[in-house]
Amino acid sequence: MSGVELKARRDGIMLGPVGLPWRPRVLAATAVVAVVAALVFAGGIAAGSSGLSLPDVLAALAGVADSATSFIVTELRLPRAAAGAAVGACLGLAGALTQTFSRNPLATPDILGVTSGAAAGAVAAIVLGGGGYSVGASLLGFGIPVVAAVGGLVAAGLAYGLAWRGGVDSYRIILIGIGLTASLGGLTSYLLVRAQLTQASAASQWLVGSLSGISWASVWPMLAVLGCAVPVLITQAAGLTLGQLGDEFSVSLGLAVQRHRLIVIGVAVLLTAAAVSAAGPVGFIAFVAPQLAQRLAGTARPPLVASALTGAVVVLAADVLARSLLPGEIPVGIITAVIGAPYLIWLLIRRKDVR
C-alpha cells in the first residue's frame, strides 16, 4: 500500500502532506521554455568555428569522444554555455523580482544601483589600476569580478539605506535608485574621459558585457547564488503574490512587508551582482525576460522559474548567433536586444488583453 494519499480537484492537488495549486498554463509555458533552453544549450555547445554534431557533443559529455573534441566541449564550449545560461537566469530572475515588488514593468535591478555600482567599481579598477595609481593597482589586485561585485553590493546597500525612513517604500527606493544610478554613471563617464586610451577602451569593452573568455571560475559564483536564491524565494513566493494587492492588504493577510521586501531586494541584488561581475552589465535581459515569461504564462506577475529560463534562452540564443552567424564577435549584450525586443514587440501587437 502506498503511504501517499492523493486528493485532487480541478484547481489543485494534494500529494501526502504537500499541496499544490494546479496551473496548467503556467506549467505548460515553463515546460516549453525549459525544453527550448535545453535545446539552445546543446546548440550552443555544438555551434562555433569548428562545427560539431550533436552526437559528438553527447559523446564528449559522456567522456567517450576523442581528446580534441572533448577539449573543445568541456574546456571551451561548456563553460561558455553554462555561463550564458547562468547570466540569463540570474538577470531574468532578478528582473522578475524587481518588477514584481515595485509593481512596475520598467523596474529592472539597475534601479537598485547594483549595475551602476558594479560598473563604477570595475571601471575605476581598470582605469586607475592601469594608470599606475596605487589605489587602482590594489583594486586591480582583487580582480575585476570581485571589485565589480563589491561595487554593486555597496551601491545597492547605499540605495536601501538612503531610502529607509522607518521602512522602505517601493516608490522611494526607485527614485533614490534613479539618482544614484545617474551619479555613478556620471562618475564612470568621467573616469572614461580622463583615462588613457588603452584603459578607456578596455573599460568600454567591459561595459558592453560579453561572454567571451569566460571560464568555470566565474560560473561557480553565479550557480552558488542561484542555488541559494531558489529556497529563499520559495518562502517568499506567496508574499510576492500578495504584494500585488497593495501594502495594506498584504499586511492584513499576515505578510511582514518590510522583511519580505528586504529579502526580495537582497536576493535580486545578489543575483545581479553575480551576473554583472561575471559578464559585465549585459543590458535588457532583466527587462525583457520577465515580460516575455509573463505574457507566455498569462499570469498576474512575472513567473519566477519561467523568467529565469527565458533569460537563459535569450542569452544563449544571442551567444550562438553572435558566434555562428555574424562576422567578428559582437558582444552578447547587443544581440540580446536584437532577439528579445522584436519578440516582445510582436507579443505586444497581437495581445488581446494586456493591462
Binding site: 512596475n104 514593468p105 520598467l106 523596474a107 534601479i111 538612503l162 531610502a163 525612513r165 517604500d169 516608490y171 522611494r172 526607485i174 527614485l175 533614490i176 534613479i178 539618482g179 544614484l180 544610478t181 545617474a182 551619479s183 555613478l184 554613471g185 556620471g186 562618475l187 563617464s189 568621467y190 574621459v193 558592453v208 543590458g283 535588457f284 527587462f287 525583457v288 515580460q291 567578428g328 559582437i330 558582444p331 547587443i334 544581440i335 540580446t336 536586444a337 536584437v338 528579445g340 525586443a341 522584436p342 516582445l344 514587440i345 505586444l348 501587437i349 497581437r350 495581445r351 488581446k352 488583453d353 494586456v354 493591462r355
Partner: protein
C-alpha cells in the same frame, strides 16, 4: 535668471557682471567675442534645452503614469542616435546642420513606430504597453547603433562626440529651426496639461470627463517628440533631466500639470545651466561635458531631495 547670469559670467575666464552688461550692450574688445561668441549662445541653448527636456519629462510621466518614464523611453533619443550613426556610416555626413536634421528625422520616425506598436493591439486605455513598447524599441535601436559603432572606426569617432550631451562648440546656425520645433512642442504640451490632469484620474474617469483618449495621447506624444527631438538635435542626448526634473517639480508644486509642466521646465533649466557652469569651472581649459556633471552632481542632489521630501506619487 540667476543661473543665466552666472552662466554668462563664469567660465575659464571670469568676467564681471558689469563687463558682461557692457559687452552685451556695446560691442568692444575681446570680451565681446567671448560673451557674444560663446557664452550667450551657450546660455540660450541651455535655457531652451533644459526647459524642453524638463517639460517633455513631465508630459511623458503624466502620459505613462510611470515614475521611471523619461522622454528617452519613447524611442526619441535612440532613434536620433541611430539616424546620426547611419548618416555617418552610409553617407559620411559631417556637417552639424545635417546631423541635427538626421537626428530630428530619426526621433520622429522612432516615436511614430512606438506609438503604432503600442496602439496596434487594442486601444489606448492602458499606459503600460506604451512604456513597454518604447523600452523595447529603444533597446533595439540602441543595439543597432552599438553594432554600427563597433564595426566602423569613423562612425565611432563621430558618434562619440555627438553622444556626450554638450552645450559647447555648437553655434547658432540652424538653431532657429530647432527652437521653433521646441516652441511648437511647448504649445502642444500646454494644450495637453488639462488632459494629463484628467488621465491622472484613470482613463475611465478621464473619458467620463469628456476626454478623447486619442486626442490626449496624440497631442501629448507629439509634444514629447517635438520637445525631445529639438533638444536632442541641439545638444545631443542629454539624459537625467527628463527623468528627474518632474519628480522635483512635483515635490515643489504638486501634481497639477498646469503648474507642474512649467515648474519642471524651470527645474530643467536650472539643472542644465548649473551643471554647465560647474563643468566649465572645475575643468578649467579642458571643461567637463555637461552630461557628465549633470548626472554626477545632479544624482547626488536628487537623492538628498528625495530622501527629505514628502513624495507626491504619480
Amino acid at each position: 535668471m540667476l543661473a543665466a547670469v552666472a552662466s554668462l559670467m563664469l567660465g575659464s575666464n571670469l568676467i564681471s557682471a558689469g563687463q558682461v552688461v557692457h559687452a552685451l550692450i556695446d560691442s568692444a574688445a575681446d570680451l565681446d567675442a567671448i560673451v557674444w561668441g560663446s557664452r550667450v549662445p551657450r546660455t540660450v541653448l541651455g535655457i531652451v534645452v533644459g526647459f524642453a527636456l524638463g517639460v517633455a519629462g513631465a508630459v511623458m510621466q503624466g502620459q505613462t503614469r510611470n515614475p521611471l518614464a523619461d522622454p528617452g523611453i519613447f524611442g526619441v533619443s535612440a532613434g536620433a542616435s541611430l539616424a546620426v550613426v547611419v548618416g555617418v556610416y552610409v553617407l559620411r555626413v559631417n556637417s552639424p546642420l545635417v546631423t541635427s536634421a538626421l537626428a530630428l528625422v530619426g526621433a520622429v520616425v522612432a516615436s511614430v513606430v512606438v506609438f503604432a506598436i503600442a496602439t496596434a493591439g487594442r486601444g489606448l486605455a492602458s499606459p503600460v504597453p506604451l512604456a513597454i513598447a518604447g523600452t523595447a524599441v529603444s533597446a533595439l535601436l540602441g543595439a543597432i547603433t552599438s553594432f554600427l559603432v563597433l564595426t566602423d572606426q569613423t562612425t565611432l569617432a563621430a558618434y562619440r562626440i555627438w553622444v556626450v550631451g554638450s552645450l559647447s562648440g555648437r553655434n547658432l546656425d540652424g538653431t532657429a529651426a530647432m527652437v521653433c520645433l521646441v516652441a511648437v512642442g511647448l504649445v502642444l504640451a500646454g494644450l495637453n496639461a488639462g488632459s494629463l490632469n484628467n488621465l491622472a484620474l484613470g482613463t475611465e474617469l478621464a473619458r467620463g470627463l469628456g476626454e478623447s483618449l486619442w486626442r490626449a495621447r496624440l497631442v501629448g506624444l507629439a509634444a514629447i517628440t517635438f520637445l525631445t527631438a529639438g533638444a536632442v538635435s541641439l545638444a545631443g542626448p542629454i539624459g537625467f533631466i527628463g527623468l528627474t526634473a518632474p519628480h522635483l517639480a512635483r515635490a515643489l508644486v504638486g501634481g497639477d500639470h498646469r503648474r507642474l509642466l512649467p515648474a519642471s521646465g524651470l527645474v530643467g533649466v536650472l539643472a542644465l545651466l548649473g551643471a554647465d557652469v560647474i563643468g566649465r569651472l572645475i575643468g578649467g581649459q579642458a571643461e567637463v561635458a555637461v552630461g557628465v556633471v549633470l548626472a554626477t552632481l545632479g544624482g547626488v542632489v536628487f537623492v538628498v531631495i528625495v530622501r527629505r521630501a514628502k513624495l507626491v506619487a504619480l
